[in-house]
């Protein structure tokens, strides 16, 4: 660990301004560090720009390690504190009639939900009245608009004394800091050989005929998808999961699957305007869980996979503890 004179704030350089970097910068300044953020100006270069923004730790437990639910639950509080647009209205899980077995599996593999019948679904989402016989409601979950949330965090940084600089930082610049936090997502793959890309594709639709208050997951054995309301008749439909770091545009197949899911949820989506079709690469480690890795002055925060908004506060707090207390509360020292 580098020597820091008593009473002086540690100087930290954060590489990357996706959700990992911005949350880390926010948490670190909150604990008194002097932070500089290096970022690429193109918002679309960031995986989190295309995220669903579901803060759904209990739903994610259906297919992820129990750790995601345990560590992710606290993220809801963190985001409510740092982004007023965080909406805690729960999430709804549905399945088309012929895929009811998927709903039973989902219910078995998750906790913190209640089972709804047709009336229960209609009471929560009147526009879905009569369309689904059964659903699962996860009342404690929340959602946010990732782009608005990232913009809000970034806008708040200068007031926290953070210096924002466009572009890459060279070796000489990195030397001037006590710590470098590498939060570059998949761009850091050359420095972390087991980091791989999992491609995700999404659509943004405008459909004023449909109103939803909360994210809806539509289960299907092959293509489980979700629709997240962004307000004012706009919805994000996501997301594919392809074991590839291919950066080409959304494929026709993905667009068809995403549109099919939206249409299965409500036929009015057939008349929706397609505002955007986006894709990016989730950074993932072999166990699909994020990791904090200390290499001298460099701390690497990566492997967010599907859980950037859910797990970045946890990872940032661990990084801050390493920087300011010299120890990771989850074990490990710098």
């Amino acid at each position: 660990m580098p020597f820091i004179a008593a009473g002086r704030s540690p100087r930290v350089l954060v590489l990357g301004a996706g959700v990992t970097g911005l949350v880390a910068a926010t948490v670190l300044t909150g604990r008194g560090a002097a932070v500089t953020v290096r970022f690429r100006p193109e918002a679309a270069s960031r995986a989190s720009h295309f995220a669903g923004g579901m803060l759904a730790p209990w739903c994610e437990a259906a297919d992820a390690s129990a750790l995601v639910a345990e560590r992710g639950a606290a993220a809801i509080g963190w985001w409510r504190e740092h982004f007023p647009g965080t909406c805690r209205a729960g999430s709804l899980v549905l399945a088309p009639p012929r895929d009811q077995a998927e709903l039973h599996r989902f219910a078995r593999r998750t906790t913190a939900h209640e089972t709804l019948d047709t009336e229960g679904v209609a009471a929560l989402e009147p526009d879905l009245a009569g369309r689904f016989r059964q659903g699962l409601f996860f009342a404690g979950e929340a959602h946010l608009d990732p782009r608005a949330a990232l913009a809000a965090l970034a806008a708040d940084l200068p007031a926290r004394g953070v210096v924002l600089r466009e572009g890459e930082a060279d070796e000489a610049e990195q030397e001037g800091f006590d710590h470098v936090l590498d939060c570059r997502g998949h761009a850091a793959a050359p420095d972390w050989p087991s980091l791989r890309g999992v491609r995700g594709e999404m659509l943004v639709l405008r459909c004023p005929e449909v109103a939803l208050r909360r994210p809806v997951r539509l289960l299907h054995p092959r293509i489980p998808l979700y629709v997240v309301p962004r307000g004012e008749g706009v919805f994000m439909v996501g997301a594919t999961m392809v074991e590839s770091s291919d950066r080409r545009a959304v494929t026709a197949r993905a667009a068809m699957e995403l549109l099919n899911a939206a249409y299965a949820l409500h036929p009015a989506f057939a008349e929706a305007e397609i505002l955007e079709a986006g894709s990016n690469i989730r950074p993932a480690l072999p166990d699909n869980l994020p990791q904090l890795r200390a290499e001298g002055r460099v701390l690497r925060l990566n492997g967010m996979y599907r859980h950037g908004f859910l797990l970045s506060p946890w990872l940032a707090q661990r990084a801050a503890a390493l920087v300011l207390d010299g120890a990771d509360p989850e074990g490990g020292t710098a």
Binding site: D63, A64, S65, R105, R108, R109, A189, L195, R196, G197, R199, P221, R222, V242, E243, S244, S245, D246, R247, R248, T251, R253, P286, D287, N288, L289
Partner: protein, 255 residues
Amino acid sequence: MRVYNTELGSRLLLGTAQYPSPTVLAEAVRASGAEVVTVSLRREGAGGGEGFWRLIRDLGVRVLPNTAGCHTVKEAVTTAQMAREVFGTPWIKLEVIGDDDTLQPEVFGLVDAARILSAEGFQVFPYTTADLVVAGRLLEAGCQVLMPWGAPIGSGRGLNNPYALRSLRAHFPDVPLVVDAGIGLPSHAAQAMELGYDAVLLNTAVARAGDPVRMAAAMARAVEAGRLAFEADPMEARDMAAPSTPVLGLPVFGA
């Protein structure tokens, strides 16, 4: 068992899709004792799949690339050629899908593609139905192994047509036969092996189990149990009770 001059110790072949993570996949493969895993190149292979392929190669088992998601002969042949480049193997699990709801093989295209690929030096593992005539055509096309379905892919319904599978076994006693797809439970896998099948290929039953590693171990034991039972020449089922201890003083043949 022996396929294309390769001796395999395990009679369980595993798919690599839909696992919660590559780490769980690796643990499941270890627990299953499988020596062959199959991997899809169509979706993951559009380019940029190197990260996942490296993980598959690192499993240290034989890779049987597949053409899942291909609907035409041309797509399947192109995908097979790409698979040979990526994994450096002549093996290809040939899938040509004819119906999107049931993922039923398109057997006409399958035979055509098998003929083309065999002529190009591929060793083709065709995913087919339990149709006897199609099976014969695939062998004529150059296949030295057949992989009939038990039930539609991912359905977990077990062996839908044991009669057809049995007659396939009887017609082709010397061809390696693998039940591919439809297995949901270890009892299904055991049943396939009891019919005298040489191996079982499955994916969803393990990948989507609550505990894939445990299920992989269960499948391995079921496959072994079914095979041992087949080799042991099981008793015939009968309608009447047959006391296992001798009953004295009763006539042997009932009226």
